[in-house]
Structures are given as C-alpha cells and as structure tokens.
C-alpha cells in the first residue's frame, strides 16, 4: 500500500514539475538556513558545558551601587574565602594573560624564541577543577616556577607532547624566570571561555624577587584587582548565602568598600546571559543568539507557509483527480495518506539537498562567523532530537493541512462543473503571503537601520583621527635598559622621512584605558564625589598631536614632565567630561588648579572630548598622565608603499628590542573591530532578508501562477472586450501589490519597535527615518511586482480564443 502511495507520489510530483521545484526550492532554502543556525545555537549553548563541574562552578564579581559589575578581583581574596566561607570546595584564581611575553628554550646549539600572548597565572588545582584533559604529567601547578603547556604549544616547542620535566625561560613583565613543565593538557576547545596556551603557577608570584618590582601582582594582595576568581561549590550549596558571606568577608577585609557587593555568577550564565538585564558580564552575546534564533524560526516557518501556499494553490489543478478518486471509492483517509506521502517525499528530498548544501557551504559560513562549526556540533544534548522533532512536526502540520484541503473536495462538483471552482482558503493564502512579506520587510528594514547605524558610527566625528595611524606594540620584556631602548627607537623612527608624528602611550584609542579609578576630587569636593570613576591613560608629550586631539585650555604635556613619570611630576590633562564630573567651570581658569588623588595633581591642560572607545558608550571622564610610555608606539604616516616602510620600521624595532616579536595594527581597523557584533548582525540580517524575500517570492510566484490560471477565462473575456495587455497585467498584479502594501503597514511598527530597542544600546545613534521604511516597502513592492508581472504578462498575451475554448 505504502509502496503504491510512494510510486504515485513520485509520479505526481514529476508531473507537476514546476510547482514541485518551486516548492522544494523554498524548503531547501529554509532547511539550509535552519541547520546552519541550529549549528550556531548548539555551539553557543554548549560553550563551557564540557566541564564536568559545570553545575558547581561560579565566577565572583563585584557589584557596585551604580549597577556596574567588575569581574576583576584582588587575588588575595581567594584563599581567605576558601578558609572562611563554608560550601566552597575550591577557589581557582586566573590572572589572564598576565604572564604574556617571550618564551625561549635552549636546545644546546640554538635558542628557540616564541612570543606567547595567552599566558596565564593559575592556581595549582586549575587542571583538576576545570576539564581540560591532562595528556602528560600530574596536572598540578602547586609549586613555584612550574608550568603547563597546551598540546599545540608543546608540539610547537618540542615537536611532541613529551614535555614534562623540560625547562622554559619566560621573559615577561616579571623579568626572566625559568619554569619547569609539569603537565601537557589537551588544547582548550574553541567554545571555552577560559583560554590559555601556557599556564604558570600563581605560587611563583608569591616571591617578591620573582615579581621584579611588580608588587601589585602579589597573590596575597587586596589592592589591585586583576584576577578572576572561580569557586567550586558543594553539590547543594546555597549560592546566595555564599555570596552574602563573601560580601561580609570583603567588608571586613576592606572597611572602605561597604557599598560593594560580592556576587556569584553561575558558570552556566558565564557565556550567555539568562536575560537582557543580567547584571554580570558575559562572553557571548545574547542579542546575537536571539537574533539568530528568531531568524531561524521565521525562515523555517516561511518555508512551511510557502509549502502550504503553493500546495493549496496547486490543489485546483488536482480537484478533478480528487473527484475521480472519490467517485471510484477512495476514502478521505486514504486520500490524506496519499497526499501526506507526497509531502514526505518532497520534504525528504529537500532535507537531503539542504544537508548537501550545508556541507558545501560550511567553510564559507565558518569563516563568516569565525567559528569552527560543523554538523557535528549538533551531536550534543537535545539538538538532533529537537531539530528533527521540529522539522517532522512542522512538515506534518503543513502537509496535513494541504492533504485535508485536497481531500475535502466535493467529487460531483469537481467532475461536473465546468464553472470556476472555488478552492477553500483563498483568504488564508493571502494571509500567509502577507505574513511572509511582513517578515521579509522587517528583515529589510532591520538591515537598513543596522547599516545606517554602522555607517553613522564610522562617519561620526570621533574628535580625533585614526586613519593613517599605525600602532606598533611595545616591548614586553622588562629590563633595566628598556627605557633607553624605547627612547632610542622613538628617535630613530622619527628620522624616517615618511613618519610625520610619533607618540608613545600605554594604551590606544579603540583598545582601552590603562586603568579606571575613583577617589579623585577637586579640592573642595562635594560628598560622594570620591565614588565617581575616571578612566586613566598614560601618554607622552606627542599623544594629542599624533591623534589630532584638540587642546581646549592650557597645554599638553611637555618633555620635562615625562622625565620623572606621573607619580613624581603630578601633572594631569583632563577631557571635558572629566572637567564636568569634577565640578569645575568650563573655562580657562581651570589651568593651574589642583585635583586631589591622595596627593595634589596640577591640571596643565584640557582636551576636547573625543571617542576613545566606540560609540556604544558615552565619552568617559578621562585623566591623562605623563610618562615615557612604551605600551604602543603610534605612527602618523602616509600609507602608500606600506611594505617597504614596514620593513624599515621593523628593522629599527628589532635593533632596539632584540628578541621581541614585531607586531602592529592599523588604528582604523582596531577601531572598527569594536563593531564586530554589529557587523555580524548586519550580515545575518542581509542573509535573512535575502532568504526570506526569496522564499516569499517563491510563494508569490506560485500564487500568481495560480491566479493567472484561475482567471484565464476572465482575462480572455476582458481581452475580447478590448482590454490591453497593460491593463490586464495591472489587474492581476494589483491584487498582490495590495498584499505587499498591507504587509508594509503591519511590518513597519514591529520593525520600528525592534530596531528602536536595538538602537538604545548605543550612546550615539541615528534616529529612524521614514525613508528607511519606505525604501524597504519599495524594494519589496518592486521584487513582488517583478515576480508577479511575469505571470501576469504571460496570461495577458495568451490568445483569448484558446483560453475560452479550453474552458
């Protein structure tokens, strides 16, 4: 029986090739997009889940009265917590990338040198608490001067993973220290938020000698906040109780921190926030995930809608077949089964083709997302099952409805009546087309708004210049001659004819500040002023000139001010926001005033506000501090003939900083990187809009074919009565264009609301304009018209005699 159904199904799909192809095209597109997005969602969902202790892990954060959170904590809090708060089994601290520098091994004859960025200090139990499988060694880092290497790093250094017992010299900000490898661990998966290629034992830094004067890094210290604190709790620990006790403890340790709260962020919420107002910071973007998910759901629903639409439209052609079958004794159940079999065949083929498409396009998709995705990521948790259930149930629903419509035809009417047969659900089909276009138009509007915002951010006057600025990363090895080397390098680079300006600073625009701090006030401060925070940036005398930042009052720094460093010179430059926050009047009288920050610091200048970071955030109150900096060297230069110029800079760099790898970036690129999420969203929406419009047009095409066929008699009569082709095309197209107009009316407020909410995430943003909606509508109208008019023209130019004859 089923075999028979199958045979007939294939035959009738083949007979209605055009419709089947259009129908399958929509489904294939829908399934392909759906699978791709499922991969992404599964990947994000599975982030960090490979840890066996996943459910018992939390990260500590400070929560401030201002609503801000800070996950950098003083490392000294860790051990104290473990011994004082019940319910905590382990505390693991991570000083992320704090140990980055140059690693070298002596292989007798030569010395192999590698620059490593992802070098972190961790507590001894790190590899026991987190699940990064240990391939070699005991997995412990309890002793000073011990280290662990990732598999890839071990192979890079030694050619294989047998590295245990080997000694590596690490040259970083803590000087030159030898470490012994105790373990080699499996590379951290890409969807782990904890990433390190080299792990160094935190214990090492307990020795003052091995800190090389950087006492801020003291693991027992409570002063500087630079470490992640993860805790492993007991099975049924009460997190809010632990959080309360940790807060109490912190208040006891630091009596001036009474307003701060120590919060626990469950590891589950580390990657994706459970909601938009989640107070802790996360690694992944909930916004992207939700955008992805909604796109996936909408696209697959559109594909099914399309299926229903096309199949019921086509039903008209099959009415006679249904009638004959019924007269011959087919029951409604049998007919339903027959048509469900067709759906099944169609869906299976489409799904198969979609899988092939996924395999073929995977590489392109991965490079777009910069993630390593494959069908294999679905092989986790409920994704296979969930996805399969969704596809099957959707298909059953869509197919079931179509079968029901088909099998409900009255046999006598369909066989006998030559007159126009009214197939049920014409208004339903119109509703479905409206739905498809609503979705498409929303995607188009979202795309337009998104790109306008991106455009705006790129064209916004930043108050400084990033074009033609090259940032060279400074040396990471700290030694006694470093300062002289930096000055020598600067002077030599200045001699290069193509370098117009050069500045050394310890951080750069688009990248970040040096640190943020409170406790800065004017001399007669108001209560509470000391809680306001300022972003600090350490720069040299050329910084403002190099970035074309305007000086409003006073001067910038001068060379003599750099000489002794900001701690001794005690001079600062403010931006306008800092002037406002400190409570000064915005005029020249500010020059020479002294601000209090433990000691008095003299204001020597005020610069105009500029966007140090992206347009997501308001311009922060900034305080600039003078020093001979060497974090980054910014070169203002012509970018023509870059490669030869770069060679010259590189050779000077290597001459002055021997053994240091030369790395650089262009400031405009660094700056653009801040909008990565927006760029990705933009690409998602373009792809979504494209797919949705394409599928919607398939539906429209089917409907237009159907309408042209249904109205063939009417068209014939009208032609005989004198209608011209133009008026006939109008007649058919107008109906559909009306649907698109309705869709625009429905879509506009929805799109406005969504994009309004999205724009609120930017401190500097565009306001939506009517033309954005109008052009989305025009675009949809144009595409719809192009689709429909082909059918309409075909119908309109056909010979009326023929169409009336065949009637």
């Amino acid at each position: 029986m089923f075999k028979n159904h199958l045979k007939i199904a294939f035959r009738s799909l083949w007979r209605n090739r055009a419709f089947s192809a259009i129908n399958m095209f929509g489904l294939i597109l829908g399934f392909t997009v759906f699978i791709f997005i499922a991969e992404y969602v599964a990947y994000e969902w599975n982030a960090n889940r490979f840890h066996q202790n996943f459910n018992q892990l939390s990260r500590l954060s400070f929560l401030y009265k201002t609503g801000e959170s800070n996950y950098y904590l003083p490392p000294g809090l860790g051990p104290t917590l473990k011994s004082n708060v019940p319910g905590i089994k382990q505390v693991v601290r991570i000083g992320e990338n704090v140990g980055s520098g140059v690693l070298s091994i002596n292989t007798g004859a030569s010395k192999n040198v590698f620059r490593e960025e992802r070098v972190s200090f961790v507590d001894g139990q790190f590899l026991k608490v987190f699940t990064f499988p240990v391939l070699q060694g005991n997995g412990l880092l309890n002793e000073p001067q011990t280290m662990a290497l990732s598999k890839t790093t071990a192979i890079k250094y030694f050619g294989n993973v047998n590295a245990v017992g080997k000694v590596i010299q690490v040259n970083n900000q803590f000087g030159n220290t030898d470490y012994t490898v105790t373990s080699v661990y499996q590379d951290m998966p890409q969807n782990s938020d904890i990433q390190a290629d080299v792990l160094l034992s935190y214990k090492t830094l307990e020795s003052a000698a091995l800190r090389n004067g950087n006492d801020w890094a003291d693991p027992t210290g409570l002063g500087s906040e630079y470490s992640y604190l993860y805790i492993l709790t007991n099975e049924n620990a009460n997190l809010s109780q632990i959080s309360a006790q940790a807060t109490n403890l912190w208040h006891k340790l630091k009596p001036d921190s009474k307003n701060d709260h120590v919060g626990l962020q469950p590891f589950q919420n580390l990657h994706i926030a459970p909601g938009f107002s989640y107070q802790f910071q996360t690694y992944g973007s909930l916004l992207l995930l939700i955008a992805f998910l909604s796109v996936a759901m909408l696209i697959i629903v559109i594909a099914w809608v399309n299926y229903i639409n096309l199949s019921t439209a086509q039903a008209l052609n099959r009415a006679r077949e249904v009638g004959v079958r019924k007269v011959l004794g087919a029951s409604r159940g049998q007919l339903t089964l027959q048509y469900l079999t067709e759906t099944f065949v169609l869906t299976t083929i489409s799904l198969g083709v979609a899988m092939l498409m996924v395999l073929m396009l995977q590489a392109a998709y991965n490079s777009f997302l910069e993630k390593q995705l494959s069908l294999a990521v679905l092989n986790a948790g409920w994704f296979w099952l969930g996805g399969a259930t969704l596809i099957i149930s959707g298909t059953l629903l869509a197919g079931g409805y179509v079968s029901w419509v088909l099998s409900s035809f009255n046999p006598l009417k369909t066989i006998r009546s030559k007159a126009f047969l009214k197939v049920g659900g014409l208004s339903l089909r119109r509703g479905l087309v409206v739905f498809q276009f609503v979705t498409s138009i929303i995607f188009i509007i979202a795309t337009i708004v998104l790109y306008e915002q991106l455009q705006y951010m790129q064209n916004q006057d930043l108050g400084m210049k990033v074009e033609q600025r090259l940032a060279v990363t400074g040396p990471s090895i700290i030694n006694s001659s470093q300062r002289d080397n930096s000055i020598a390098f600067e002077n030599e680079v200045r001699q290069l004819p193509f370098v117009k300006q050069l500045s050394a600073s310890n951080n750069i625009p688009g990248q970040g500040y040096n640190f943020s701090t409170a406790g800065i006030t004017k001399s007669n401060a108001n209560p509470g002023d000391d809680k306001k925070s300022y972003a600090m940036l350490i720069v040299d005398d050329q910084f403002f000139k190099t970035y074309d930042i305007n000086i409003k009052y006073g001067t910038g720094f001068t060379l003599p001010m750099l000489a002794h460093g900001w701690t001794k010179t005690k001079k600062v430059v403010l931006n306008e926001a800092a002037v406002r926050q400190l409570g000064y009047n915005d005029n020249n009288a500010i020059i020479g005033q002294k601000i209090k920050w433990n000691n008095d610091f003299e204001i020597v200048g005020v610069v105009k506000d500029y966007h140090h970071l992206g347009l997501h955030e308001q311009i922060k109150p900034m305080i600039f501090l003078p020093a001979v900096a060497d974090g980054f060297f910014t070169l203002k230069m012509e970018t023509a003939n870059m490669s030869t110029k770069m060679e010259q800079i590189r050779s000077l760099y290597q001459k002055n900083f021997p053994g240091e790898p030369f790395s650089y970036s262009f400031l405009d690129e660094v700056y653009d990187k801040q909008y990565k999420t927006e760029y990705q969203l933009g690409k998602i929406f373009i792809a979504a809009a494209f797919t949705a419009v394409l599928i919607a047009c398939m539906g429209l095409l089917g409907l237009a074919m159907f309408a042209a066929r249904r109205r063939i008699k009417e068209i014939g009569i009208r032609k005989i009565l004198g209608a011209n082709v133009f008026s006939l095309v109008n007649l058919i197209s107008a109906d559909f264009l009306k649907l698109v107009v309705v869709a625009l009316v429905v879509a506009s407020p929805i799109a406005w609301y969504i994009m309004h909410r999205w724009l609120e995430g930017f401190a500097y943003r565009i306001t939506m304009q009517w033309w954005m909606f109008a052009s989305a509508g025009l675009m949809a109208l144009f595409i719809a018209f192009a689709t429909v008019s082909i059918q309409a023209i075909k119908a309109a130019v056909s010979n009326p005699v023929k169409s009336l004859r065949s009637e």
Binding site: A419, F420, K713, E714, G716, I717, R718, K719, I720, L721, G722, A723, N724, S727, N799, P800, V801, L804, R805, E807
Partner: protein
Amino acid sequence: MIKITNLEKFYRTEEVETVALNKLNIEINRGEFVAIMGPSGCGKSTLLNILGLLDDPDGGSYLFNDIEVAQFNERKRADLRKHNIGFVFQSFNLIDELTVFENVELPLIYTGVSATERKERVEEVLSKMQIMHRRNHYPQQLSGGQQQRVAIARAVVNKPKLILADEPTGNLDSSNGNEVMELLTDLNEQGTTIIMVTHSEHDARYSHRIIRLLDGHTVVENIMM
C-alpha cells in the same frame, strides 16, 4: 462590409494538421443577418473568431470595411475590434466576480468612455434588455436567459456595427432562446450587421441568409424568403 477570399486556417498539433478553413470565400453586406450552419468541427467557430479579429488567418484575404486586415498585428486588431465588433457566446462568458452593471460597463471602460456617460449608456441598454432590476446581481444569481441578455447587452453597449454570436441559444431552453432571437432581430432592424453560428434550423429562420459549411468549405447558401 466583409469580404473574405481564399481564407485558410490550419491547426497543427504534434501528429496531425487540421485544415479548419479551406480556401473559403464569403461576402457579407452592411445590415445583413447571416446564419452559419454545419456539423460540429466544420470550422464555424474558427471562421467567427477570424471575422471577429480574435485570430488571424494563415492565408487569403479579409477585407473589413474595405480595409485589408488579414495581416494586422494584435494591437491593430484589438483597436478595430473594440470599436466595431460585439460578441455573444454560447456559454455567456460573463465575469463571475463582477455585477451585471460592471460586466456591461467593461467595453466602455476599455474604449475610454467617461464614467457619467458609461452610467447612462449601461442603464439605457439594461433597460432595453429588461434586466435593469438585476443590475447589482452577480451572474450566478441569474437564469441562463437572463445571463445571455446581459451578454447581449454587453455586446451592444458600445454600439458596434457588427455582432458575432456563436450558438447564442445553445445553452438556453426554447422560450429563452426565442427571446434572444427577438433581441438580435431587433438589433438587426436598427441597422446592426449580425453573423450568428447556430445548430438550430428554427433559429436560422430569423436570418436573411444561411451559409452552410462542410470541412471548412462553403457548401451552399440559402437566401431566406
């Protein structure tokens, strides 16, 4: 008014070529009422479609008001058609979605008549056809005879000089059929040329002249009375 010489029409399908009209010669004068008769498939409808400029011949000449129209293109034919010719079909061919009034109004819309004039002329012709009270009904709500009267109203609303009727009584009972024939006779008496295809000897008797076709060829012409 109409003069066709050696008119030919072929239909080619995959296997066979049908000769629908075979070197046909006919002349029809202004004001005539001509009936065309013949067995099914002899080419009556084909002839009517060509006379009505709905289709073009494969050979021969067709003079319409002394103008050679055999080689006219679609646009020119349409232009000539909508000003000069009205059609009545066996199956009425009314548009289901339009009311009686709107159906009759269509030819006037296509010839660009103003809305006020359209209303006048449609109402005039509907009154004449005694169907005015049904002006807002849809075709399905009318009897066959009423539908055909609407179709005739639609054919004459533009005041065409020629009316082509393809088995206008074919779907009607005899009393409705007679009513339609009376209407056509009235129109003819007012000066409209009428060419009508029919199977009914009874209906043919309303005409002045009967042209009998066999295999696309004139067999005999009877002059009535």
